[in-house]
């Protein structure tokens, strides 16, 4: 799966949790999920579970600690898919 495709699906999953819609509209690979999009940090758990369901993958808890940006999400998912 292309990174762009993964990125679109990641954005769709994140959208309900986004508090800064301007930052979301201008998002890029380096957009930070907590700091820029203002997603409640507790909800990151639900976002990761939704990634698992969407892409039929498993993401280890320790891998989640390294996820900061949208690009990090796409790379993590792409690695699991490969």
């Amino acid at each position: 799966m292309e990174s762009a495709q993964i990125g679109e699906r990641v954005a769709k999953i994140l959208e309900p949790y986004v508090k800064d819609t301007d930052a979301f509209a201008k998002r890029s690979d380096t957009t930070k999920i907590l700091d820029d999009l203002k997603v409640n940090s507790a909800r990151l758990v639900d976002v990761i579970l939704a990634f698992e369901d969407e892409f039929d993958i498993e993401i280890a808890d320790e891998d989640v600690d390294d996820v900061e940006t949208l690009g990090d999400c796409v790379r993590l998912i792409a690695a699991r898919l490969s």
Binding site: P16, Y17, K19, A42, R43, L44, V45, D46, L49, D61
Partner: protein, 425 residues
């Protein structure tokens, strides 16, 4: 000197209406909210009818953010909708989530009898049993913790005063109002969102079904199933929903120029101590009497001032003794009992939300000067013959200025409140 407490906002999610305006119509017209429930039939409950609010998810989609809804089970949804209506009805602005200001003078006592049973049944038990606890995500705890329902309101309205959840079984809703009144009277808060909420789930109702306290004989006639004070009453009809009152100090209401629906003049809570006939599941009549009499004394209400009684009246064997307790507490002969009605005849028994929904009905009736007909008691219970003229079987006007509402619950707990019609300026 204690401060006066008034009701400036009302909100309701009931099986027969959403919103106070339609709820008033439903009460006047005797519209039933009891329907056949396929889920109860599928799970082989003997009772297969219940009062479940309709159209709640659609209303929530229009009122709350998508991520908020992901963490709101049915009890939370009922509470949030009713509280939002009460808050805006009081003329208060819904704060912007990005506005960091907190209203330190406003709080909430929003109770529940059972709480997040739907979350437990649909998510916690299946996932944990399957060894998938990590898949519960972040929203399970806030939906099963008892205080989640009041905490939800704090986030919606930036409440900075006491925010808590009381739980006293079927007395919960009335008790929340009594507790909120105390908070304002003592000067500790200016505004309190008070009431109760309950979710809809056959898993909540199954235990009552097993106790044989639910109605079993009217599964094919839902509107006739809830029969308080009737000879053919065979148990209560379970229900869900929420009622919320915005209680406010008279000073705060006057300062804001708020419309006053009614004054909350008297409150009381008692427990029968599981003595004198009381138990975990039955009331000590002396505890009931003291509770009602306590609310009347607290509000300096005389018998002739009582225009109506909104009973607890569930359609179980306890109804006749409750009616006798009202007469004992008021100190009147059976034929002099003020008009008494049972809102549960229309909506069923919403457990922890019941008293709050019925308190909303009480304030509506007081404000608009009517007492709604208590349905399905055309065959009056034989022990209630002496009270016949007081039992409201056709909607009638209410003249006298006070309405008394009580709620009684498992645990032998009781709560009562007395509302007085707001004086016209």
């Amino acid at each position: 000197m204690r401060r006066r407490v008034v009701v400036t906002g009302l909100g309701v999610v009931a099986p027969n209406a959403n919103g106070v305006a339609d709820f008033e119509l439903a009460l006047r017209k005797g519209r039933s909210g009891i329907r056949h429930q396929p889920g109860m039939a599928e799970h082989a409950l003997a009772c297969q009818v219940a009062g479940v609010p309709q159209g709640v998810d659609e209303l929530c989609q229009a009122s709350f953010a998508e991520d908020e809804l992901l963490a709101m089970n049915s009890s939370h949804r009922h509470a949030a909708l009713a509280a939002l209506e009460a808050w805006t009805d009081a003329g208060l602005e819904r704060p912007d989530p990005d506005d960091d200001r907190v209203d330190w003078e406003a709080g909430a006592i929003l109770g529940t009898g059972i709480g997040g049973m739907d979350t437990i049944v649909e998510r916690v038990v299946p996932l944990v049993s399957a060894g998938k606890a990590r898949r519960l995500g972040s929203t399970a705890v806030e939906q099963v913790m008892a205080s989640g329902v009041s905490a939800r309101l704090s986030g919606l309205f930036a409440l900075g005063n006491l925010v808590t959840t009381n739980s006293s079984a079927c007395a919960t809703g009335v008790e929340a109002i009594a507790l909120g009144a105390d908070r304002i009277r003592s000067g500790q808060a200016e505004r309190m969102l008070c009431g109760g909420s309950e979710g809809a789930s056959e898993y909540i109702w199954a235990g009552f079904d097993s106790m044989r306290v639910l109605c079993r004989g009217f599964n094919d006639e839902p509107a006739r199933a809830s029969r308080p004070m009737s000879a053919s009453a065979g148990g209560f009809v379970p229900a869900a929903g929420a009622g919320v009152l915005l209680l406010e100090s008279l000073e705060s209401a006057a300062q804001r120029g708020a419309r006053i629906h009614a004054e909350l003049v008297g409150v009381a809570s008692t427990c029968g101590g599981h003595r004198g006939g009381g138990s975990m599941t039955a009331p000590n009549p002396e505890g009931v009497r003291r509770c009602i009499a306590g609310a009347l004394a607290d509000g300096a209400v005389s018998a002739e001032e009582i225009g109506a009684i909104s009973g607890h009246l569930t359609a179980t064997a306890a109804d006749p003794s409750e009616v006798r307790a009202w007469a004992d507490a008021i100190g009147c002969a059976p034929e002099d009992l003020p008009p008494i009605t049972a809102t549960k005849s229309l909506i069923g028994h919403a457990l922890g939300a019941a008293g709050a929904i019925e308190a909303v009905a009480s304030v509506v009736m007081l404000e608009h000067g009517f007492v709604h007909a208590s349905q399905n008691c055309e065959d009056l219970h034989p022990e209630l013959g002496a009270f016949e003229s007081s039992i409201v079987r056709e909607t009638r006007p209410m003249e006298a200025p006070v309405l008394v509402k009580a709620g009684f619950g498992f645990g032998d707990v009781n709560a009562a409140v007395a509302f007085r019609r707001a004086r016209r300026a």
